[in-house]
């Protein structure tokens, strides 16, 4: 069968969601941010909630997220996205409100906002993309940088004695009463991508039921910051990030999975 005969509208099985704008993604080749953007927009499209969804863009690589997602968006000061989301959700309780943050934004400068929004159990969704480094500003060490991992501010590798160990904010917020659904996902392979999409859908559906805060971490790569090719960075991530940041649900229906 000729390729021309296959490429017909009736045979279409997958195409880019129209909820992603035509803007050229500003991310480096192979960066997981683009995949997470697409998954969120696919879920919003499938649920038919484009007009009722409000996203909060962070500061960092994904600062321009509002340019790529065709939904209502706001942009918050560095780390303050959960506070802005709190205000918007309280004014419009019927809207679906999510924040989209990186690890420098959520786990460093925004730790206070994150922990208190989670503790209050605001009925929002937090999407947290963790690549263990400050990507946009040139690969500096983040709180999530692994021990021994080289970055521009830890050129000999992170030393836990002088710089403190990396911390798992996802496990931390799971301990708080206000969180209802906490999970950790990845988007580097087809299987994990499909699982991550289900988690996104579950999180947004929980908002409709006013269950509390849902928190999804995506362990992702930063090939530019890690100084690797996209595929090497994905392999490195599997070998080094996943043992420290294990995949799977941490809290479901308000109960810790391993508690």
């Amino acid at each position: 069968m000729e390729v021309k005969e296959i490429i017909r509208p009736e045979n279409l099985v997958y195409k880019r969601t129209p909820l992603l704008t035509d803007a050229y993604l500003s991310y480096c080749p192979g960066c997981g941010h683009g995949t997470v953007h697409r998954l969120i927009m696919e879920v919003v499209e499938e649920m038919g909630i484009q007009e009722d969804t409000i996203g909060i863009a962070p500061v960092g690589c994904s600062v321009l997220a509002y340019d790529f997602m065709d939904i209502d968006c706001s942009q918050a000061a560095h780390g303050r996205a959960p506070a802005v989301a709190t205000g918007i959700k309280r004014l419009w309780p019927d809207k679906y409100v999510f924040t989209y943050q990186g690890d420098g934004d959520l786990a460093a400068i925004g730790t206070g906002e994150t922990i208190h929004a989670c503790n209050r159990g605001e009925n929002i969704t937090i999407f947290f993309v963790n690549n263990g480094i400050y990507g946009m500003t040139g690969g500096q060490m983040a709180p999530t940088t692994l021990e021994g991992m080289k970055s521009s501010t830890s050129p000999y590798g992170r030393n836990n004695e002088t710089m403190g160990p990396p911390y798992k904010i996802t496990e931390l917020v799971a301990q708080l009463e206000g969180t209802h659904y906490v999970t950790r996902q990845a988007v580097h392979k087809p299987g994990p991508v499909r699982k991550a999409k289900k988690a996104i859908r579950k999180a947004l559906e929980l908002q409709k039921e006013n269950k509390g805060l849902s928190f999804i971490e995506f362990v992702s790569n930063c090939n530019a910051g890690w100084k690797m090719t996209p595929n090497d960075s994905n392999i490195w991530m599997e070998e080094n990030m996943f043992p420290f940041y294990p995949m799977g649900d941490i809290k479901v229906d308000g109960k810790l999975v391993n508690g």
Binding site: I6, L20, Y24, P190
Partner: protein, 75 residues
Amino acid sequence: MAKAKGAIVVDVERCKGCQVCMVNCPTDTIGMAEAVNGKGYHYAYMKDPESCTGCTNCAVVCPDGVITVYRVKKN
């Protein structure tokens, strides 16, 4: 047994040549073109169109969402 036959269409100008689709293709259908697009990236293309089953693995992992997938059932 019915065997699926597929094809992909790559949005050449959007492709950044990251090769994530290439390593995740179970049938080794995708290769990177020698030519470059307007941004200077070697874009993905079907190097072996006969082997494509339209499984959509390449499209779901593509960070830039440049791949469209078509599939027909062949008896």
